[in-house]
């Protein structure tokens, strides 16, 4: 993975001291609240319902065991012994004090980490495929490009005060595990007719109050032109995006208002000025970064793996293997997904002890690296098949092996009203209700992949619009109610879910999900027809009937 140069380290170190001084000036009354607010947000610090919340950047979701141990140490020293992984593949601490944040940032800087631009109206952490570099269908590893974007976007002097936040995702192949179509900019590595690899560029996707699928602005962009093209898009947005209403300030609103063709014309006109500038990446610059993402030293596959026998004699292990591991591009290896969705725990939460256990596993079995996923899980990307049983035992001993990846209980859930000052409704209690309802339901595994995303407010941090089943918490006269959407997807076939009907009372959410799933089983033509396929084929009416019929 990328190792800091002196330049990188100096930037992060100086940034820590800059923020320390900003905090000092704020506490001394020299910095108005509103200004400090913008500065602390650009360092990942929110003031939440209970306490400040610090969001630490994990660039494109990739971290070393050393870094994960540091996160554990921070959780123990400055927080209450746990952290929370987010859909932007960052980690959040819910209980630090405002005064301790400069020290936390200094600790992070020791292991090449920071919290720069994890919030605020600036370019946020670039995300990518958690299986980058290890999945066979990939055209090219997207992470070097993410690192190039990370550097370009970090402390960019022109784009620190955009109309609104700005998120970029990069995918390396035909599958989309980064929700790239609902990002401000989605970059897809593709091959053109000449066989060259470059980017398809999408712009203006997003969720929140106005969910929009991104539109193609350029079918093919040469890699060397990546930064000039991004800069052209950002400049057009910075100059023209709305600043009078924060709910209409994202680039998706601008693109829709202008129309994609006019927007493209403006971007291309700006790009013509800067395409040949020093923003053009030289091959040696690209190669320097790519050299930091070379594959690890894989061993030749063992001739007679004991795996088949282990799977045959241990059913629990087999179920985990089938659900929580993924085919690796190198024979003899598997990708292991570490479930952060244990029974009755807040999705995405992880304790300091669990972090250390995963860090140890990474060191022993996966070349010392860990990835965070958009679905709020972790990944050990390079585990030898012959080590899987041992890895599973240790994960299981740490409550990290619930075999639920891709199933209903692998929910994306925001922290909701319990923690977040934006939320309208609680989410964690509903997640528990769903866990309790479905823990012992036999058909859950037969149902296959169901993506359930639940947000506690319209800001859609848990991406409910693109869940196969989306749940949005709403406040009705002081009570929590839940609006269902069906048929969303954030993958290559991205779509926005449609509202099922009137919202559901809090204590009926799990029962409603059951009705929906039973209707699906009823409707499907075979086990091969997924939940999403059925919703798309049959439409919402049979599901409406199943959920609301009793009300008639």
């Amino acid at each position: 993975m990328y190792q800091y140069t002196e330049v990188d380290q100096k930037l992060v170190d100086e940034r820590v001291e800059q923020y320390r001084d900003q905090t000092r000036r704020y506490l001394a009354g020299e910095l108005p609240d509103e200004e400090f607010r913008a500065l602390r947000l650009m360092n990942g610090l929110y003031i939440q319902r209970q306490a400040p919340m610090l969001r630490v950047a994990i660039p494109y979701g990739l971290m070393s065991s050393t870094q994960l141990r540091k996160m554990a140490e921070i959780a123990r020293t400055y927080d209450r012994g746990y952290g929370h992984f987010t859909t932007r593949t960052n980690i959040q601490y819910n209980w630090p004090t405002l005064e301790s944040v400069p020290d936390i940032l200094a600790e992070l800087a020791k292991v090449q980490m920071h919290a720069i631009q994890t919030s605020g109206n600036c370019i946020r952490n670039t995300t990518t495929d958690p299986y980058a570099g290890v999945i066979a269908s990939e055209l090219e590893d997207p992470r070097p490009w993410c690192e190039i974007i990370r550097q370009w976007s970090t402390l960019h002097p022109e784009f620190a005060y955009l109309p609104r936040k700005f998120k970029i995702a990069v995918t390396g192949g035909p599958e989309d595990r980064a929700a790239s179509q609902v990002h401000d900019i989605g970059l897809h590595l593709v091959k053109n007719e000449q066989g060259e690899v470059g980017f398809e560029v999408l712009v203006g996707g997003g969720l929140g109050r106005t969910p929009v699928i991104g539109k193609q602005i350029r079918p093919f962009l040469e890699g060397r032109d990546l930064l000039s093209y991004l800069e052209a898009i950002l400049r057009v947005y910075n100059l023209n995006g709305r600043r009078d209403n924060k709910y209409k300030a994202r680039i998706k609103i601008l693109v829709n208002a202008m129309g994609i063709d006019t927007f493209r014309e403006q971007v291309e006109a700006e790009w013509a000025h800067i395409r040949e500038s020093d923003l053009r990446l030289s091959q040696s610059e690209i190669d320097t970064v790519k050299a930091q993402f070379t594959p690890p030293a894989y061993e030749a596959p063992a001739a007679d793996s004991a795996l088949d026998a282990q799977l045959a004699e241990n059913e629990t292990f087999r179920i985990w293997y089938e659900r929580n591991t993924v085919e690796h591009k190198v024979e003899g290896y598997r990708i292991v997904v570490v479930s952060l969705k244990p029974y009755l725990q807040a999705p995405g939460d992880i304790t300091d002890i669990q972090m250390e256990a995963v860090a140890d596993l990474a060191d022993r079995f996966s070349f010392g690296e860990i990835r965070a996923t958009h679905h709020q899980n972790l990944v050990l990307a390079d585990v030898k098949q012959s080590d899987l049983l041992e890895v599973w035992k240790i994960l299981d001993g740490n409550s990290l092996a619930r075999p639920n990846i891709g199933t209903l209980t692998d929910m994306i859930v925001c922290p909701g009203f319990d923690f977040c000052s934006l939320a309208n409704a609680k989410t964690l209690n509903i997640a528990e209700q769903i866990n309790e309802k479905f823990e012992h339901v036999d058909y859950l595994h037969d149902i296959g992949d169901v993506r359930l995303n639940m947000s506690g407010c319209i800001n859609a941090c848990a991406h409910h619009h693109v869940g196969h089943i989306g749940i949005l918490g709403v406040d009705k006269k002081g009570e929590d109610w839940y609006q269902f959407t069906l048929g969303g997807s954030s993958e290559a076939d991205a779509s926005l879910g449609k509202v099922l009907g009137k919202s559901i009372a809090a204590d009926e959410v799990a029962n409603t999900i059951e009705k929906i799933l039973l209707a699906y089983i009823d409707l499907r033509e075979s086990e091969a027809e997924s939940f999403l396929d059925v919703v798309r084929r049959a439409g919402l009416n049979p599901f409406k009937e199943a959920v609301y019929a009793a009300d008639h």
Binding site: E6, V7, D8, L155, P157, R235, N238
Partner: protein
Amino acid sequence: MPLIIDRTLVAEDKWTTVAEDQAIPADGAIILPLAQWLEHHDALKGREVGVQVNGDDNLDQVLALNGQVELIVVDIPAFTDGRGFSIARLLRRAGYAGQLRAVGDVTRDRLAHLERCGFDAMLVPDDRFESETLNAFDEVSVRYQGGASVTRPAYPQS
């Protein structure tokens, strides 16, 4: 108000800002709003004239000031309004070499960004200026991006 030019506090400012509804003074160096300048620039030939613009002005008209005036002032109505950064970049790219001055909600924690985008002059409100404010420029001494004066990104250093 304290005026910083090239990172230095300057005592003298010869420029007088003329408000939209104010008569143009007979002599001296004056700063006019863009609309006034567009209306009167023929009559002002030979005088020292600067023009004040903001993010709502027509960008083509703003860029056309290059070569026409000695001073361009960009009004930043709120520190969160980042349009001024892009306006500065575009003016410098167009070849504008005169003084580029940021006024309005211009305070310490934006000064380094303003400078990197091409501003050489910043007018800071009285109650927000201390001698220590001038330290803001070098808090982060390394950078990944080019800017108005240094165009190379950091990669060649790595």
